[in-house]
């Protein structure tokens, strides 16, 4: 009961607050900014042909209804929430009348699969390599790894992804240039293996940056932990190195890493967005990109809302895992 009140409830409250504030911001922005999406759409459609002004007016009203822009701002806000809580994010304007939720649902498994595997691999790899490099800082491999990863870390993600695709999919055509998979979807070996093959380069780019980031943090953490007295005692007592590294050093460096994981989920989502654009990977980010190109306002709003909710939920889950790892939070 104590844990529930002092830890879980504030986190749940914060989750709600983040979602409400985030969605409100997403709601306010189009209405505050000088551009008018209804005008843009009407102008675009009527620029190619002469239309009856009454038809244009009916069209304008229909668009306004689809964008949810009739009535006063307060009315719009409540209608917005009402629609959203029913799971209705409106129809996509470029793929009319497919609902936005269908399009997002189509792209979701690709993004989650790519992101999920990349996060897991880069987190594990980064922590493992970082801890080992921090524990043995004077070995050659540790210093080489350090220089290499520090060189990779500041490179803007887009540049890294672009360089990978140029080198490995174009100049030396090993990997496919676009797409998520080839062949007919199904549980056949050829389809599954093509999924893995197509996702290799995007995953590699995400893992590289993720590992570099975690490596640097893990190494810094390990250097501070290694000089602490309980580790020195363990070394003097002659405990096997493996036990010291995994049981003492890595365990204690996990906590900041877990917090950092929660906070960097947002950055990873942004990275996935760029990845999907560069590699033409059919996930949510790619949908967002095509929506921009086609001025599909509803889809852009839908994906933004979805990403806010998704990231807030992921952060909540990671936060809720925290007491499992840190006994001090449990027994406060």
């Amino acid at each position: 009961m104590g844990l529930l009140k002092s830890y879980i409830l504030p986190r749940l409250l914060q989750w709600l607050v983040v979602i409400v504030i985030g969605i409100t911001i997403t709601f306010i922005i189009p209405r505050l900014l000088p551009g008018d999406p209804v005008e843009q759409t009407v102008r675009r459609v009527s620029s190619t042909s002469v239309t009856d002004p009454r038809a244009l007016e009916a069209f304008q009203n229909a668009i306004r209804d689809m964008y949810g822009l009739q009535g006063s701002p307060v009315e719009q806000y409540f209608r917005f929430w009402a629609r959203m809580l029913q799971g209705d994010l409106g129809p996509s304007l470029s793929a009319f009348p497919t609902p936005v939720t269908t399009i997002i649902a189509n792209g979701l498994p690709w993004t989650v699969g790519l992101l999920g595997t990349s996060i897991v691999i880069s987190w594990l790899l980064g922590i493992l390599l970082g801890t080992l490099a921090g524990y043995y800082p004077n070995r050659l491999w540790s210093q080489v790894l350090d220089k290499v990863l520090i060189a990779i870390y500041p490179i803007p993600y887009y540049i890294l992804a672009l360089a990978l695709v140029i080198v490995f999919a174009y100049y030396i055509p090993i990997f496919p240039l676009v797409g998520g998979a080839s062949g007919r979807p199904g549980l056949t070996w050829s389809y599954i293996s093509s999924v893995v093959w197509h996702s290799f380069l995007p995953a590699l780019s995400l893992v590289l940056i993720g590992t570099a980031f975690r490596f640097i943090i893990a190494r810094a953490l390990t250097t501070t932990i290694v000089s602490s007295n309980y580790v020195q005692y363990a070394e003097l007592a002659g405990l096997p190195k493996r036990k010291i590294i995994f049981g003492y050093v890595m365990r204690n460096s996990l906590l900041p890493q877990v917090t950092d994981l929660a906070l960097s989920l947002g950055a990873l989502f942004e990275g996935a967005l760029i990845t999907e654009v560069v590699f033409s990977y059919p996930g949510i980010g790619f949908q967002l990109y095509t929506a921009i190109l086609q001025s599909d306002f509803n889809l852009i709003m839908g994906v933004t809302i979805f990403s806010i909710v998704g990231i807030a939920t992921a952060v909540l889950i990671v936060d809720l895992l925290y007491p499992l790892l840190d006994p001090r939070v449990r027994y406060r």
Binding site: Q14, V17, V18, I21, G22, I25, T26, I29, P30, L33, P34, G35, P37, I150, A151, Y153, P154, I155, P156, Y157, Y158, I159, L162, A163, I166, Y170, L263, G266, F269, E270, L273, I274, V277, L288, Y289, I292, L293, S295, F297, I300, M301, V303, T304, S307, I308, I311, A312, V315
Partner: protein
């Protein structure tokens, strides 16, 4: 100043970083003596590979890649600098205020900051840029990026102020009747400067990366040459498929140079200024 001299002498990473930075700054300065204006097109024959007359080749639009890149470097640095200025000012003000005042104000501000940290910036920025499309100048891009990058640094400044607040000199200042704002600005700010330097550099890197991302997605002011818009136009005119590597290779190489330069400088500077690592180095030398 002596810090810089010592760093140049003793730290090879800093030397490399400073050298790269010098190259970048020289390039940016060269933009003022460029023979062509930044938005002029068809001033040179198009699609020529690098040669003696056209150092980095020419683009499909008839611009000289080398001089275009000097403009690009200058504009990107300006955008990033403006964004960092705006973002970090907000961060320092909010963070210091929340940390120093404490109590309910602090709790409210911290909750607000935490909310802003979680909200994903790229989709929001895409939404904004999409609606403003056509009306974006490169100053507004800088302002947008700056307005989105204050949350995480403000937390760090707040924790620094929290520890400074307990120091004796703060108590002395309070008892002498110094106003709150004056204490923060006069007494605490000097302590924040080493951290602020390293933090500003990472803000710089973030702003550059974001500007490139936005421009490549086509959501920026595409008529001004920046590193991102150069890459955008290069992909637009299919320079990758046509094997015209010089048009997109140049901005990519330069962006890597800029970030590596700033990163090296910031890490070496912060390790040097952090008294704990200095003590560790002294201890190691004495022990060995």
């Amino acid at each position: 100043m002596t810090v810089l001299r010592d760093l140049l002498r003793f730290s090879p990473s800093f030397r490399w970083g400073a050298m790269f930075l010098l190259v970048v700054l020289v390039l940016a300065a060269l933009s003022f003596v460029a023979p062509y204006g930044p938005t002029e097109r068809r001033v040179v024959p198009n699609n020529r590979p690098p040669s003696a007359t056209y150092l980095l080749g020419t683009t499909t639009l008839g611009q000289d890649v080398f001089w275009l890149m000097t403009y690009a470097v200058r504009n990107t640095l300006i955008i990033a600098g403006l964004a960092v200025l705006i973002g970090r000012s907000i961060a320092i003000l909010l963070g210091s205020f929340a940390g120093y005042v404490g109590g309910l104000t602090d709790r409210v501000l911290s909750a607000l900051t935490d909310t802003f940290i979680v909200i994903p910036r790229l989709p929001l920025l895409i939404l904004i840029s999409f609606i403003l499309r056509g009306n974006l100048s490169f100053v507004s891009i800088a302002v947008l990026i700056g307005l989105l990058d204050w949350a995480w640094p403000s937390k760090r400044y707040r924790s620094q102020i929290l520890s400074l607040r307990e120091e004796e000199f703060t108590q002395t200042a309070v008892f002498s009747g110094m106003g709150r704002l004056k204490i923060i600005l006069r007494e605490h700010l000097p302590f924040l400067i080493p951290f602020a330097l390293a933090d500003m550099v990472s803000g710089f890197l973030f702003a550059i990366g974001f500007e490139i991302t936005l421009a490549v997605l086509g959501l920026s002011d595409l008529s001004t040459p920046t590193i991102g818009t150069m890459i955008y136009w290069a992909t637009y005119y299919q320079s990758l498929l046509a094997r015209r590597w010089w048009w997109f290779g140049a901005p990519i190489a330069i962006s890597i140079l800029i970030v590596v330069a700033f990163y090296l400088i910031s890490t070496t500077l912060s390790t040097f200024l952090d008294p704990r690592t200095r003590l560790k180095n002294i201890a190691v030398k004495a022990g060995a």
